[in-house]
Symmetry: C2
Subunit: 338 residues, 2 copies
Amino acid sequence: MQNTPPSASSTPARVALTTGDPAGIGPELLAKLLVEIAGDSAHDVTVFSTADELDRAFQHAGLVSERRRVEQSANVRIVDTGFDFSGMPVAAASEAGGKWAIDHLDLALRAHEAGEIDAVVFAPLNKSSLHLAGMHENDELRWLENRLGTRGTVSELNAIAGLWTSRVTSHVSHRNAPMLITAEKVASVARLLHTYLVASGVPAPRLAVCALNPHGGEGGKFGTEEIDEIVPGIAAAVADGLDVTGPFPADTVFLRARDGDFDGVVTMYHDQGQIAMKMIGFDGGVTIEGGIGVAVCTPAHGTAFDRVGKGTAALNSMRNAYEIARSLAAASESLTVR
Amino acid sequence: MQNTPPSASSTPARVALTTGDPAGIGPELLAKLLVEIAGDSAHDVTVFSTADELDRAFQHAGLVSERRRVEQSANVRIVDTGFDFSGMPVAAASEAGGKWAIDHLDLALRAHEAGEIDAVVFAPLNKSSLHLAGMHENDELRWLENRLGTRGTVSELNAIAGLWTSRVTSHVSHRNAPMLITAEKVASVARLLHTYLVASGVPAPRLAVCALNPHGGEGGKFGTEEIDEIVPGIAAAVADGLDVTGPFPADTVFLRARDGDFDGVVTMYHDQGQIAMKMIGFDGGVTIEGGIGVAVCTPAHGTAFDRVGKGTAALNSMRNAYEIARSLAAASESLTVR
């Protein structure tokens, strides 16, 4: 485990940006973000796209008049990937859109491997498009894990309003989740959350761990995973020097976290954290692909096909994804745990 | 299934009140409630307690000066149960407290069986006290079910800010919940929620049903309970003429419900609903013991031993429990479903 705080480097983090699914609101969010940061030397971004896609992105964002200024800014580098954008659907899932999203994300990762950028932000992907394009993994994180050959623990992390979560299980059935909860996994996912919080600028993160069962199992009455796995997992993380407490019944721990008692919550299954986090705030949420040795972030929302091209898509989540990626960038090499 | 709307009776609903665990904040909440409604002919309450317990209740509430007025009000009937209150602990779980809570609740149910009251509200119970007193059921609802010989479907219902939930499974382990989710149970728990919402004054309740698995199972990729049980259960409820839609992924359906798209949400497991409901509002929540043929309600919060006797315990949930019990009282006989 690495606890390196973010370096106070004088040069800004170099962040790669991709448009995600080109049929969704991703391209117009990218355009909005570029308009905000173009010309500000605190920012250094590299955009992987094409002239055609950017034409549409700035049109959809209602920001055509800003495009020239953005492209002439010294802190915005646009890499024209030369991919064929002709006939790319709007506001619909497609194989072409899925392939575009994957191929551009891959180019951003290559740029990281070549040492040219420090972090990656991709705009929202569309699961149907990805499946049509042949992605067989259950989620983007598994794809990234395979693409990068990650060996350590990975977990999708979620952040909203300063509160972060990690997951011991994620895109698996309710029925299968308990079998995947081990003390080792609880400890490593706590370490992962700690590592990311430190990297993002929280020097001594206070972590809570959720119970799996209602009322925390009531001493084994409604399930024994707390006793058998979660408590030993917490003990292992504490033995490493982490500030980790629990297990807490899941229906009240998020109230305490929201009220500032904790910086992060280790969840046992997908909806446990996601129900709470989306109640805290849908707009502004960020997904962080945790444990892959490079800072990769994306807005928590989807492609919102019903809002494409209306200029109304809110930038909050995309902006927050970019800001978190920047904060993590200096620590990218430490973003793995055993 | 009964759809009888609440009758516009000219005589107020007769509501029995008990103090719950005498060591908690229940007695003082009862005193506060009595002070609010004493002398108002729109209310008709019967309190099961003792002079000693009420002494302490009004002291803890800081309302000793109001007691005489309350006891002389025509609309407040106090039944002195003659139980021995001497040495009753304060702010601690005990066998005596658990036994007191059970015995007084039992007296209220007897009064209902004798036709003397229409609904019951009990102040918060304490699970440890109940266990010490020999309650072996997993929760109060199972105890009530056994006590009353209920044959139909039961479900704990939760209400906060006008939104209600019911549960297909409740106090069981995460691991066992999927086995208990059947199409028949989904349909009957939807009917139960519909029945209670109608009885409480919502003429045409709009119900949403949660999926069990993350992302609603993604077409069977992460679990098949949606396909095998939940969708057929919804279809059965719809065939009965209910307005029921779903299954919806659980991490977004509560946002829609909170924003007014639904009056009720059928949940698949305890924390699915409770995480969301407690994020919507901890203060003011009500638990309704659903399906037992008599309106029985209680505040959603606990005995709050750390706040006993400070006069600071908020009345909101107790008041809301009383108001929901009143609204359900006229329809008590219809509060069962097959």
